[in-house]
Structures are given as structure tokens and as C-alpha cells.
Amino acid sequence: MAQGAAELAIRALKPGDDLKISLGDRAFTPLKTFLCRHATPYEARSLARTYVLVDAECLETTARVWGYVTLVASEVQTCDRVRPPQDVHWPSGYSVPAVKLARMAVDKSMRGQGLGSQLVDFAIAISVSISEHVGCRLLVTDAKQSAVKFYEKAGFTMLDTPGNLEKSAPAMFVELPKLK
């Protein structure tokens, strides 16, 4: 547990939060670096929105962060004269508007307790909510190979091509209109 705390909660990142998350593997260094150096300025400039896991008793104050998820606006561009969806007039070189789950991590001391899954559930719900007000068809992510099964279990679909499957972080997506 979070050093004796009874409950955890998800809230928006606050300036001054303790961001020294411990991820335990060099492969996760970019996730740690982003949280420590970039998440707060990105938040301030509306370049990304980061939601953090903190002790539930620290909701009004700054707090130690035990996990986070970061969402940004994105799009899927298709080239090479691929046709747009059937029965839809769309200019050539069309893009599919999307939300991107850009970063997500849980402190190594807190793994195996369903916290990552709940962060993803929350991210999917935010994306569905956005798609109800703004044209937005997908939630996409670049899943590390070690996390592919986790995202599949959360409902993501793999872009099923050899080129994508070979990548160290293949693209996966959730189609939002089908969840309403």
C-alpha cells in the first residue's frame, strides 16, 4: 500500500506534486523522465492532460504520485490514396481524429493491484466523453511489447499488420463510437 494509506484516488496533476515515481527498469526511463520534467509544463500549456494516482487523504494538497496517465489530442493519417470510410465524402489524404494515451506508468511498489487497468478505464471513458462533443473516433496508444497483453485485456485492438507487430511499441486502438 501507499505507506499506510487506506485508499488511492485519481485526480488531475497539481503543480508541486512529488513526481519521483520508481519504475524499476531502464526501459521505463522515458516514462519517469516525462513525469518528472515535462508533465507539469505540458499541463500548464495545455499540451497534455495528466491524471495521477495519489493517496486519497492528499486530494487537496500536493502529494506523492504512485501512477499516472497522460492524454493528448492526436490523429491517424493514412496516405497512398486509401479511401475514406464507405459512404462518406472526405477529401483525399484524410485523417481520423483521435485521443492518444501517450504515457502511463504505475510505481513498481504498487503494481499487480489493478491500478493500471483503472487508469486505462478512466482514459477510455474520458475519450468516449470527448467523442460525444468533438469529432473523435479513436483512442490510440503505442504499447510496449511487454504491455500488449495488458492493453488487449483492456479492450484495445492491435493494428494487425506485420510491420506494426514487429515494432517495439506497436500501435493499438479502441474505436470510440462503438462503445456508446
Binding site: E7, L8, A9, I10, R11, A12, L47, A48, L53, A56, L59, V72, S74, E75, V76, Q77, T78, C79, D80, V82, R83, P85, Q86, V96, A98, K100, A102, R103, G112, Q113, G114, L115, S117, Q118, V120, D121, F122, A123, I124, A125, I126, V128, D142, E152, K153, A154, G155, F156, T157, L159, T161, G163, N164, K167, P170, A171, V174, E175, K178, L179
Partner: protein, 62 residues
């Protein structure tokens, strides 16, 4: 064909990757896991919008 992606930006597909993506969007069915996740998340988001936070379940490790 290629899959080009930027962590904080666009996902760009060409050739077979783009065509496969188009087909998956056109013919793909919603996964039950995604529907379940969205339903759970919807409850969480309602509490978040109401209170500014949502308390999460902490499961015991197996």
C-alpha cells in the same frame, strides 16, 4: 508500407498498414473488454466530474 508514430502526436500509416487499418475500422466489431472498460470508466468519470477525483479500488496482490 509503414507505421510512423510520434508519442505526442500523429500516427501515420501508408500502404498495406493503411489499408488494413481501414478494413479494421470498417469491419471490426467492438470488443467486449472495451465495452466493459468503458462502462467501468464511465462510473469513474462521473465521480471525477462531480468531486474532482475518484477513489480507486486497490486489489490485493495474488
Amino acid at each position: 508500407m509503414s507505421v510512423q508514430t510520434y508519442t505526442f502526436g500523429v500516427l501515420r500509416l501508408t500502404g498495406k498498414d493503411a489499408r488494413k487499418f481501414e478494413n479494421q475500422l470498417r469491419y471490426g466489431r467492438p470488443k467486449q473488454a472495451a465495452q466493459d472498460a468503458a462502462a467501468r470508466g464511465k462510473v469513474m468519470l462521473a465521480k471525477f466530474k462531480r468531486d474532482g477525483h475518484v477513489v480507486v479500488r486497490v486489489m490485493k496482490r495474488a
